[in-house]
Amino acid sequence: MHKLTAIPFFLLLIFLQGCASTPLRGTGDLGVVIERAAGSIQVVETTGRTRLGKIDGLGDLSHASVNYSRDERYAYVFGRDGGLTKIDLLEMRIVKRVMQSGNSIGGAISQDGKLVAVANYTPGGVKVFDAVTLELVADIPALDDNGKPSKVIGLVDAPGNRFVFSLFEAGEIWLADLRLPTKPALTKFKNVGKEPYDAMITADGRYYLAGLFGEDGLALLDLWDLKAGVKRVLNGYGKGEQKLPVYKMPHLEGWAATGNELLVPAVGRHEVLVVDQGSWKEVGRISVHGQPVFVVARPDNRQVWVNYAFPHNEVVQVIDVPSRTIVKTLQPGKGVLHMEFTPRGEQIWISVRDEDRVEIYDTETFEKVGELPVDKPSGIFFTPRAHRTGL
């Protein structure tokens, strides 16, 4: 008798275990938070605002960034030490990890989702990998006309399966066409300005803008009109004024393009600049709490959220776009490093490094609606980035 009852019970257990190990779910509300000191990531979900798991062994993540596969299942994590790691968000594991250079700064995924490109400092250049296998497809050394290597920064994807990036020392912008992945066709724009330190592409994939550290202004490339070359815009900004020291370089990724205007961090000034996208002229300045680092628009473009460099990095401010005024100043704590909106922008997640937590705010009421413990959090990356050019 005992044997007979034992068998169905055993089968029931298998059935239950089967359910427990394969719950079906989508990935559109998932994301990754970087634990920069521990070299690990937390996989999170934004619907219930919970942590789903932690993945270790990703190396030096002191300047890490993440791109997503177009099915939003896999995350590509780019580490400072040149490590490129492919993560399966559903199985919560490392699929593959390659050490592709000595020192890297970020990456991008191609329009068709088949290629992952990495921007490197040492040795400078761009390496392109197969997004499925992480096998090397193309290697693009960043050498100037005299054969001198440059650090590569501001690598983004562009329509037409192209990548655009800038050479810090050489002061050049390169466009790499990878429609034939093993034979990148390069178009080089020289003398774009001194020390491009970061760049962004507008969400429509048309304008590539590089910030210049070595001089005033921005280098602008219109991808719809390559013959026009790289133009300098905002040239006169800050002429004759004493610049303040910059304790952390601004990031241009996520520069707030709010329709007709672009809101960008000033360099060496406690200001956000308002730039008209038609004339590329400065049309306003907004005084803020410190040197801006990230200036990011809520998905509806009504608000822009700003965080700051040391020693002002305990504060986040919210700019109301129509009135160009600061409508809220929040004090999440020391070491606010990054902010990421939920897909439609009703909430924002903020990493607070020195408090070892991520705080979550309602973007209409500015009330804190949650927080999660995360070890020295830096970048927060949600999966809807998979479908946005330049992210």
Binding site: D60, R80, M249
Partner: protein, 89 residues
């Protein structure tokens, strides 16, 4: 180098956090370099400690390296140099 006033243990913890996190944002969390040069003992061994201290306090013109003297005393900058040359604990 001899220092008249060594930073207090609490201040040393703060300074180490500053070096790792804030210097690290350009020089790498492991100080192996990034936009800024590497700051490992190997990379710094040929450099003059006094010049390194001056660089920390006053920055380097023509580069992104900013002056840290608003946040550090002379002896704290000296202690950071000595700590970098030995390797961070």
């Amino acid at each position: 180098m001899v220092f008249a006033d060594l930073p207090s243990p609490a201040r040393q913890t703060e300074l180490l956090n500053l070096v790792r996190q804030d210097c690290g944002s350009c020089h790498g969390l492991r100080l192996e370099g990034g936009l800024g040069l590497p700051l490992t003992p190997q990379a710094l061994k040929e450099k003059s400690p006094e010049a390194l201290k001056q660089t920390i306090l006053y920055g380097r013109g023509g580069t992104p390296m900013p002056p840290w003297n608003p946040f550090l005393t002379d002896s704290e900058a000296g202690w950071i140099v000595e700590t970098l040359l030995k390797g961070l604990p």
